[in-house]
């Protein structure tokens, strides 16, 4: 009981401290930014001081720039990764696999079952029939352009009408493969990441000779790292039993018809399948990687933030303590404590703002830079790009300003409240 009470008190005190700190930071940022407009703050002194002590200023700016750069880069990496994995697939599509399968690779579905799926309610149709693609997946080694070593590329045997089902996939170069021919279409990231996967080229794998006839764009999803070919042909080449596929993906008449579709399949005694929205399936396939990146990124960002505050505090502290006499002189001349405080906050914010901008500018070229990694859950390689968006940049600059206030506030208070006589006497 007593332990609980103490714990509760500690928690309350901690919460109050955090709230106070946040208030100080917000107030500091606002006050610092408004400094030139309120009171008679000696701003021109700050500008001259920055110019006079340019080495210290550059060090402070670079220190903050480094931290902000790493911070923004980490966030953009996590964001790009999530955009690729989590946003793959469409809510208007449903994936059918053998019941209990954790991934397509573990699945198995016979042609008879696919026929039942085709006739289920809720499946969209066009002039050629129901929009269902029954698929075979495999991982094939292709050398990475970057290192020359093999990476496992997901090769997907699909139905020829797959573009009608995954409508977010568009051919950007060349054409779709022709059913029955050894032709490949490759995702745009696959084409960029692995050797030999360019339009017009031919590659050998799984004992076949394949010609690349098209490149497709799947909107940055994980399909962009895949290679697609005719499913029936792929099954033969892999020496897998005929008429067994690993999964079937259907385009639903509308995203709302998912439940009707799912219920009709799961209650059908001829079938033993799981039905899941395509977009949910891909989110699930990446849970491990997403968690890994979140945990690693969180640890690094937390340590970096603490380190950055130490660094900023140190720089600002040194800057202030170095000019104790100047501050005292200003106060002796009649500037109020409040004005001196504002003036130092302004300087800290100016420096950290410059650092924030510089840090953002330095990492900006990373935007769109594609790298690849392996998804543990599917053993296949996925390319993804750094995504630097405006809000990340703003977040980076905000981070810089917060560090500036934290770093400048306490030294400024100290500077502004020291007795003038003591400070002036100091050598």
């Amino acid at each position: 009981m007593a332990a609980k009470l103490i714990f509760g008190i500690i928690l309350t005190v901690a919460a109050i401290c955090v709230v106070l700190l946040v208030l100080v930071v917000i107030g500091g940022v606002l006050a610092g930014l408004l400094a030139p407009f309120i009171g008679n703050v000696p701003i021109s002194y700050n500008f001259r001081s920055i110019r006079e002590r340019w080495t210290s200023t550059i060090v402070a700016v670079l220190g903050i720039a480094g931290t902000v750069g790493v911070f923004v880069a980490m966030l953009s990496l996590a964001r790009g990764f999530k955009a690729t994995l989590v946003a793959s697939g469409s809510p208007g599509n449903a994936l059918v696999m053998r019941a209990g399968s954790s991934s397509e690779m573990m699945g198995g579905i016979t042609l008879e079952s696919v026929k039942v799926v085709q006739d289920a309610p809720g499946v969209a149709r066009d002039s050629s029939g129901p929009l269902v693609t029954q698929e075979v997946v495999g991982v094939m080694p292709f050398p990475l352009i970057s290192t020359g070593t093999d990476a496992n590329v997901q090769v997907r045997g699909v139905s020829p009408n797959v573009l009608e089902i995954r409508r977010f996939v568009k051919m950007t170069e060349g054409r779709m493969f022709q059913p029955g021919l050894s032709e490949l279409v490759v995702g745009k990231n696959a084409s960029r990441t692995y050797q030999g996967l360019t339009l017009g080229n031919s590659v050998d794998f799984a004992g076949g000779h394949w010609k690349i006839v098209g490149v497709f764009d799947a909107g940055g999803s994980s399909f962009d790292s895949e290679v697609w070919c005719d499913g029936k042909l792929f099954n033969q080449v892999l020496h897998r039993p005929e008429n067994i596929f690993q999964s079937a993906t259907v385009h639903l008449a509308s995203p709302d018809s998912f439940n009707t579709f799912k219920d009709s399949l799961t209650t059908d005694p001829r079938l033993n399948v799981d039905v899941i929205r395509e977009i949910d399936y891909y989110a699930k396939q990446s849970t491990v990687m997403t968690r890994l990146i979140t945990i690693l990124g969180g640890f690094v960002a937390a340590i970096m933030a603490v380190g950055a505050i130490f660094g900023a505090l140190n720089t600002m502290y040194s800057a202030v303590s170095e000019r104790g006499r100047e501050i005292a002189t200003m106060r002796a001349l009649g500037f109020s404590t409040w004005n001196v405080l504002l003036s130092f906050l302004f300087e800290a914010l100016l420096i950290s703002f410059a650092g924030g901008i510089l840090g953002c500018l330095v990492v900006l070229p990373l935007n769109g830079w594609t790298t690849s990694t392996m998804n543990f859950q599917t053993f296949s390689n996925i390319a993804f790009a750094f995504k630097i968006t405006l809000d990340l940049l703003l977040l980076g600059i905000l981070f810089a300003l917060v560090m500036g206030v934290l770093g400048g506030f306490f030294p400024a208070i100290r500077a502004a409240t020291r007795p003038v006589a003591v400070a002036l006497r100091e050598l």
Binding site: V59, G138, M140, L144, N152, F205, H239, I295, T371
Partner: protein, 382 residues
């Protein structure tokens, strides 16, 4: 050490600043250790690879099998000490989140090929006698609180599906801390028994040990040549090449970690260098007095360097202590996602050396400046 008092007095001149600088060092070192253990974990496979081991996989795709019948043909090639074969089982224990690798093993030979994964002899004998027996790595056993004698159900959708029951008869331990202690092994015969006829007789991959590591390229070539143009062509590599390739598939993690580390150290150098420079500037006249009463230039340089090195050592040591305390938490947070996160002594030593280098570098410029100080000018400055 007769100057210890001067150095001490200088260190504590500005206590807040001292604490901040030490704090910066500690945080940077913590980050360094953190990044290195993660980098080590990603590269673990290549780190533990046996120099005398070869891995044989299906050339078409790593997920395609190789027939068991190839075993005898492989053994005909001279220079092979032992061979074992494994299959990836890919089952689920209770929930998908509880991932750990399950391997079907050749019970006669697994120990000969992986001697570093040690099992007590009586446990191994029990394993051989029990068809449903299983041996598990110490980390996985600890993670699920398994004890010898437990019955463990593992669900699978492959291989006819259903829940497979195993008797836990042994726990293996790695010889080195970095050995993988997460695998779950069970018997080839039990595996075969439950398969339909068309799936029988296929292994996932072979691992073999050669008599002499220098022979590896010849043996690898001979194996691949033997099965050229067969329905199951093979690809034979040394275990370290295989593992290195695996590591490379994680992409530029190495590059990312190294660049983050570099940025952090550069920033740290700037901050401490600047602090030292300011603290030296502050006492220009003091230093001039020292010089005027006869201290040599070298002694002055020594004072400044000793101060910055002392800060580096204290800060670095604090950071390393924090790392020692935090790494187990990280390891726990990442269970099942990455191989074991281990803090090796070499990481700690490397961290301390880095701290010393930064400390030295940040003290050097201000120290040299102080050394070159001309007494007359310095004393004239107010």
């Amino acid at each position: 050490m007769k100057f210890a008092r001067i150095i001490f007095a200088n260190l504590f001149r500005k206590k807040v600043r001292l604490m901040l600088t030490i704090g910066s060092f500690a945080v940077a070192l913590l980050l360094f250790v953190f990044l290195s253990v993660v980098k080590d974990a990603f590269g673990r496979g290549a780190d533990v690879a046996g120099a005398d081991r070869l891995v044989i996989i299906n050339r078409t795709s790593i997920i395609n099998p190789i027939p068991l019948s190839y075993r005898d043909k492989i053994l005909r090639i001279p220079g092979i000490k032992a061979i074992t074969h494994n299959n990836w089982f890919g089952g689920i224990y209770l929930d998908e989140k509880n991932f750990f690798p399950q391997f079907v093993i050749d019970p006669e030979n697994q120990r000969k090929v992986f001697p570093e994964l040690m099992v007590a002899d009586d446990q191994w004998d029990a394993f051989l006698k029990d068809r449903q027996g299983a041996i598990v790595g110490a980390r996985t056993a600890e993670r699920f609180h398994w004890k010898i004698g437990d019955r463990i159900p593992i669900k699978t959708t492959l291989y006819g599906g259903g829940s497979w029951e195993f008797n836990l008869v042994g726990i293996y331990h790695g010889k080195r801390p970095q050995d993988d202690e997460t695998q779950f092994w069970f018997q080839w015969d039990y595996f075969q028994e439950r398969l339909v006829a068309s799936q029988k007789g296929n292994v996932g991959w072979y691992v073999l040990r050669v008599e002499n590591p220098d022979d590896s390229p010849r043996i690898a070539k001979a194996i691949d040549a033997e099965f050229d143009n067969s329905p199951f062509e093979t690809k034979t590599e040394t275990e370290s090449a295989f593992a290195a390739n695996w590591v490379k598939q994680f992409g530029n993690i190495q590059f990312l970690i190294v660049s983050i580390g570099t940025v952090v150290f550069f920033t740290l150098l700037l901050v401490t260098g600047n602090t030292m420079a300011i603290s030296v500037r502050e006492r220009t006249s003091e230093l001039a007095v020292f010089k005027a009463i006869g201290y040599s230039d070298r002694k002055i340089l020594f004072f400044v360097l000793a101060e910055s090195l002392a800060i580096a050592i204290i800060g670095g040591a604090l950071g390393l202590l924090a790392a020692i305390a935090l790494v187990p938490a990280l390891s726990k947070a990442l269970t099942g996602m990455l191989p074991a996160i281990i803090l090796l002594p070499r990481t700690l030593i490397l961290g301390l050396i880095l701290a010393l280098i930064v400390g030295f570098a940040s003290g050097l410029l201000p120290g040299l400046g102080a050394m070159r100080l001309r007494v007359v000018n310095a004393l004239r400055r107010v």
